[in-house]
Amino acid sequence: MHINDASLCRPLFTAEHSLPSHTVTLQFEDESISVPAGITVAAALLLKGAGHFRITPVKSSPRAAYCMMGVCFECLVEIDGKPGRQACLATVREGMAIRRQQGASELPPLAEENQNGE
């Protein structure tokens, strides 16, 4: 499947206050974006028109935030070089560098190791 990889498109969401009093600047892919302070990375990406947050490891499908509360893991992105971060649980910070998660993260699978009792 061909996925339009342009960083930003028309945002699905818009902030109710067009001029938030306090903003932070983040790096998303290769663009600099200014977003309201205190919101989650997922909210920031939706307000800026990220389109998709990640590409699935199995069939390379585009996905975006779905539940916004930490259960669905569809909003996985790379934050400051760390892959597999839940964008809906991370708060934006000045200078944060965010990239889309492309395929599988490189995280070591702890779940299997831990099954023998921790």
Partner: protein, 458 residues
């Protein structure tokens, strides 16, 4: 790592967790409350302390009421650990959590789990496309970031939250392209049986009716009794299709908000190997507890929606009830005081639970949107396993959800079955022609949140 022993550790800062903490502190217990979010309130009162006048007015007084709870909590003396992802709760009363990239733990005498609810999965064609989200998710976006749909939006499914969001969006000035709801005439017939008890919860009923009347007044296109919902699009949502009164409709929209009720978030109780029963009325698993919410004789209690959907007010009461019981076990409350307190809480709880059977019956999500009949519909979003694949597994001997993992990694992705578990259980039950209870659920093992070795070592 920390090694302080606290009287009570609570997981979850929604109505149940906050109320449990306030009650426990009142009886002199030392309390630590852990929550994954940055601020108090859970999802129902998400961002309530930061919300300005406009946001509170749009979200209504049921939302703003949460501020009284967060204030009482702040004054209670309980310790709040914000941003803590609890990845293990053990029967040894140990709680392991991730905080700012490092793992920590605490030891408690008693534990209350108040992990709340999540939106029921809505496995229809196209539900994985960007531009498709939960209506609850969109509401969280507004509560926490003041974010509203840029263009007109379609809301589809069933349940009180769907109408509530429609109502709130209208107040916020959002244009609703359509509200497509799946409640059928037969649902009303089934619900009517419960009307006498629901009438005692007439305030809630009146609220619901007022919302629907408002939608009609604002001339929002409402498609009642819609069937065969699906979303079209190649790499993002483009349109939603459904059948209404025998005709196929297609409405273009880049944002489709789905909702068909909420279900308990049972990850903790499963990971504790608690027994769970299948609820035929709520179509989900509910952990088996005593009347105070205790799992067996474990000292671990469950309060609120993670024990079966009861709503915010009843959740708060269950939280208090569990706290009073624990205070009594720790001998911080006398028998007489306990009896008085318990009775008052039970009376309130009884009142709150009246409307539940009516709501469960009226907003029962239709089978076709819980158990996809179309083989191509993705069930496990993480590993991209379809309904057809799961049916194929059962044809070659797969008996239950745990075996689907071996057949094709279904349920083994990062969400650990949260978004596919109920669907897989019901799908296999239908394919095998047995009850969901017989099919069972995934074995959930800690860590219930992804933890890296680096984080453990930090």
């Amino acid at each position: 790592m920390e090694n302080n022993i606290v009287d009570l550790a609570i997981v979850g800062a929604g109505p149940a967790g906050l109320s449990a903490a306030i009650e426990a502190c009142k009886w002199g217990l030392s309390v630590v409350l852990l929550d994954e979010q940055a601020a108090l309130g859970g999802q129902i009162y998400r961002g309530v302390d930061a919300a300005g006048k406009k946001r509170r007015s749009v979200l209504g007084e049921d939302y703003s009421a949460g501020a009284a709870l967060t204030k009482a909590f702040a004054e209670s003396g309980a310790r709040h650990i914000a941003g803590a992802s609890v990845w293990n709760v053990g029967r040894d009363m140990k709680v392991n959590y991730l905080l700012q990239g490092a793992s920590a733990s605490l030891q408690a005498r008693y534990i209350i789990l108040a992990s709340g609810a999540m939106e029921r999965p809505f496995p229809v064609s196209g539900w994985t496309l960007p531009g498709v989200m939960g209506a609850g998710a969109a509401q969280i976006l507004y509560k926490s970031a003041g974010a509203l749909p840029t263009e007109s939006v379609v809301l589809a499914g069933c349940g009180p939250l769907l109408y509530l969001l429609a109502y709130q969006y209208l107040h916020a000035g959002v244009t609703l392209k359509a509200v497509v709801h799946t409640t059928q005439r037969s649902d009303y017939v089934r619900a009517v049986k419960h009307l006498p008890s629901a009438l005692r919860g007439w305030r809630d009923l009146r609220k619901g009716l007022r919302m629907l009347a408002h939608l009609r007044r604002k001339q929002v296109p409402v498609y009642a009794g819609a069937q065969a919902l699906s979303i079209q699009g190649t790499d993002r949502a483009e349109a939603v299709s459904f059948i209404h009164k025998g005709r196929v409709h297609r409405i273009e929209s880049s944002l489709v908000l789905l909702h068909q009720g909420v279900v308990p978030n049972t990850q903790f109780s499963w990971s504790l190997r608690a027994r769970h029963a299948w609820s035929d009325t709520q179509l989900c698993w509910v952990p088996e507890t005593d009347e105070y919410g205790q799992i067996e004789d474990s000292g671990i209690y469950i309060a609120g929606d993670s024990r079966g959907i009861v709503g915010a007010k009843a959740s708060a009461l269950q939280g208090r009830l569990a706290a009073v019981t624990i205070a009594s076990k720790l001998e911080r409350i006398g028998a007489r005081d306990r009896a008085i307190r318990e009775k008052a809480l039970h009376v309130d709880l009884y009142r709150q639970l009246h409307i539940r059977p009516f709501l469960d019956a009226l907003y029962r999500p239709p089978a076709e949107h819980r158990i996809p009949q179309q083989d191509s519909v993705v069930v496990c979003r993480c590993e991209e396993i379809t309904a057809g694949q799961i049916r194929q597994y059962t044809r070659v001997g797969c008996q239950g959800p745990n075996q689907t993992k071996a057949f094709g990694r279904c349920g083994m992705g990062p969400c650990q079955g949260r978004l596919c578990g109920l669907t897989v259980t019901e799908l296999i039950a239908q394919a095998r022609n047995v009850s969901p209870a017989e099919v069972g659920y995934y074995n959930i093992r800690p860590p219930i949140k992804p933890v890296t070795i680096g984080e453990l070592a930090a």
